[in-house]
């Protein structure tokens, strides 16, 4: 048994899992607010990361400015996407809505490949020291930053939905659209805003992953990995999304560990979450924290 590898993979699992949690959270935000299953969540990461990369390398902006402009751009992008593409789809059957987001996903993925190429591009270094010692394990500084940012985002989310006026309005809309509308909440604004917030938060995750691994179209795979996480946690639960993300991150890395040490099947960590996904769908489709859908005639 290789304990050092195990420890390393444990930390990997928590860092990656926290990022999955953040992406899953923004996925759940869209689902809760506007009942849209967004298959293009991974492309938010991709677009955010490429935008930031482009501002930092081509325009030589300092990181803070580049990052800030990226966030502004992603806010507008999320708003525009909801207003132009998703608003006409309100009231359409669920298959159509799913297909629109799938269409968006392959469109933007191809667009990014066209604009920036298929090769992974390294991000300009942000920290001077490469590694730090934590409890005797050497950890890359970017990992610590990544974990920190994830925790901060989660805390901001918690505050936003518990205390801010807009967050409460969003929760009310998610709970019951008609009642929310009759209380004077603009459901249109809530829909648009939920897409904007989701795009921004995902793009932060995208930039963080890009700083660690470089930017490439592999980033959009995070959007697919979100599904095991949200199904595990329950589709409409923010807490569940975070926990589900952590579990999937850890699971992937343990599958990788088992694979590397004993099984030698290769590629296990890519597929293991999907096996788990099928099992959960069969025994507990509403996840750990999701509300059970009761249908009345």
């Amino acid at each position: 048994m290789n304990t050092e590898l195990l420890g390393q993979l444990l930390i990997n699992g928590i860092v990656v899992g926290a990022l999955y949690g953040v992406v899953a959270m923004s996925f759940v935000l869209i689902y809760k607010a506007s009942q849209v299953v967004n298959f293009a969540q991974g492309e938010f990461l991709l677009i955010g990361a490429w935008t930031c990369w482009w501002l930092l390398t081509k325009w030589q902006l300092p990181f803070i400015w580049g990052f800030g402009f990226t966030l502004v751009f992603m806010t507008l992008f999320g708003l525009l996407l909801q207003v132009v593409v998703l608003r006409p789809m309100i009231g359409e059957p669920i298959i159509s809505v799913i297909m629109v987001t799938i269409g968006l996903s392959i469109f933007f993925q191809a667009l990014m490949k066209w604009m920036f190429g298929v090769f992974a591009q390294p991000f300009p270094p942000i920290f001077e020291t490469g590694q730090v010692d934590v409890l005797g394990l050497r950890i890359q500084t970017v990992y610590v930053m990544s974990l920190g940012i994830s925790v901060v985002i989660m805390a901001v989310f918690a505050w936003f939905f518990k205390f801010s006026r807009m967050g409460l309005a969003m929760r009310a809309t998610a709970f019951n659209q008609q009642v929310a509308q009759s209380l004077g909440i603009s459901v249109r604004t809530v829909f648009a805003l939920s897409w904007a917030i989701s795009a921004v938060v995902s793009s932060v995750a995208g930039v963080v992953v890009a700083v660690v691994n470089g930017v490439s179209s592999a980033l959009s795979f995070y959007g697919i990995k979100v599904f095991p996480a949200v199904i595990l946690g329950g589709l409409d639960s923010v807490v569940g999304a975070v926990l589900g993300g952590l579990i999937v991150g850890l699971l992937e890395n343990f599958a990788h560990f088992l694979d590397a040490e004993y099984l030698n099947w290769g590629n296990m960590y890519q597929v293991a979450p999907f096996y788990v996904l099928i099992v959960i769908l069969m025994i507990k489709p509403y996840g750990l924290f999701g509300t059970k859908d009761i249908e009345r005639v």
């Binding site: 299953v37 593409v85 669920i94 392959i106 191809a110």
Partner: protein
């Protein structure tokens, strides 16, 4: 808009109402269409023939997906995986067991049906987006299996498929293989049309339209949802097997999620719940990338080409066109080309008094 029936044309029996061809003219047109297609190899060049063969096997798989999505209302994002499974099953049967290719293609369809039923069991309990996610997982799991199972697929290297032969006559050129695909296509389309006229077909539509009412009318939901999954996998398997014996080589790279999305695009563009729509959508989806190629060729060397680097990024442009076509159709023409075609027919029928 339903089919227009001329005044005075009264149906006197139920059989007359559910007939495939309402008039003799429509039947003659359909037969003439097939005969015209059969003459194609004599006049068309190799490029167009290969496109038509592609349309043939893809439209069979697309029809299967339309039975699942359009008629039963169950979404599947893993259709390419079943298509690929059929594509590997047929060469496996003919290479390892010496079964003639003419027989291994339907057998591959049956094997794919079995796999489809396995994934159909959880699917029967799920609907809507849960099913979408489950089939997405199925796509990745089967894709991974196909890449891993060397005894079955030859692993990542792929596998060689024998050419199709019947009574010692080998269909190894495009001109000859065209007839194999055409025969299968006509058979499968007639089969699907007839399925929709039976009790089982109507049960599938009832499950789609209102599953609670359907259940109260005595339709077994689990049975029909699973059955629909099985039928759609059978079609995918046949389509995949035809694809394998056409290229005479299959590898797992061809059956990624992008192909699944293309299948979904075909039936959305063609029209959900329309049999001929599946064919129209496939034609559109196969010609769209060719059109992009032609446009790029026309612009080659010009200022636009230099500025946007069109030539080298043709494959991305094609993917973008596919995504864009799906989005635009869903927003502006959600009933697909089949609906548009009906409107055109109605316009000519009613001309000049269209109101």
């Amino acid at each position: 808009m339903t089919t227009l029936i001329p005044a005075g044309d009264f149906k006197t029996s139920y059989a007359a109402d559910t007939t495939i061809f309402p008039t003799a003219t429509s039947r003659n047109f359909a037969i003439a269409g097939v005969v015209l297609l059969a003459l194609c190899p004599l006049v068309l060049d190799k490029y167009w023939l290969s496109i038509m063969i592609q349309i043939g096997f893809l439209s069979i798989a697309a029809l299967g997906l339309n039975i699942l999505v359009g008629f039963t209302g169950q979404i599947s994002i893993g259709h390419a995986a079943f298509f690929g499974f059929g594509g590997f099953a047929s060469p496996w049967l003919s290479n390892h067991f010496g079964i003639p290719v003419a027989l291994s293609i339907p057998l591959a369809g049956v094997m794919t049906t079995a796999v489809g039923l396995i994934f159909g069991i959880p699917a029967a309990r799920l609907k809507g987006l849960y099913l979408a996610i489950a089939t997405l997982a199925a796509q990745y799991i089967i894709e991974d299996f196909l890449g891993r199972a060397e005894w079955f697929t030859g692993g990542v290297a792929g596998t060689i498929a024998e050419p199709f032969s019947l009574f010692g006559f080998v269909f190894d050129t495009d001109e000859r293989y065209f007839y194999v695909v055409l025969a299968w296509m006509v058979a499968m389309y007639v089969l699907a049309t007839n399925l929709m006229r039976t009790r089982d077909g109507r049960a599938l539509v009832a499950v789609r339209d209102h599953y609670l009412s359907a259940e109260m009318m005595g339709i077994n939901l689990t049975k029909y949802r699973t059955m629909s999954f099985g039928i759609s996998s059978f079609y995918a398997g046949i389509g995949g097997a035809l694809y394998a014996h056409y290229l005479q080589f299959v590898s797992v790279e061809g059956v990624t999620i992008l192909l699944s999305i293309q299948f979904l695009g075909m039936i959305i563009i063609g029209g959900l719940g329309s049999i001929m729509g599946s064919l129209m959508g496939t034609v559109f989806m196969v010609l769209l990338p060719e059109l992009m190629g032609a446009v790029t060729d026309a612009l080659a060397g010009g200022a636009i080409d230099r500025a946007l680097n069109l030539k080298d990024s043709l494959s991305y442009l094609r993917e973008m066109a596919i995504g864009l076509a799906i989005i635009l159709f869903l927003i502006f023409e959600p009933d697909g080309l089949a609906h548009r075609w009906k409107q055109v027919k109605a316009y000519w029928k009613l001309y000049p008094f269209s109101h």
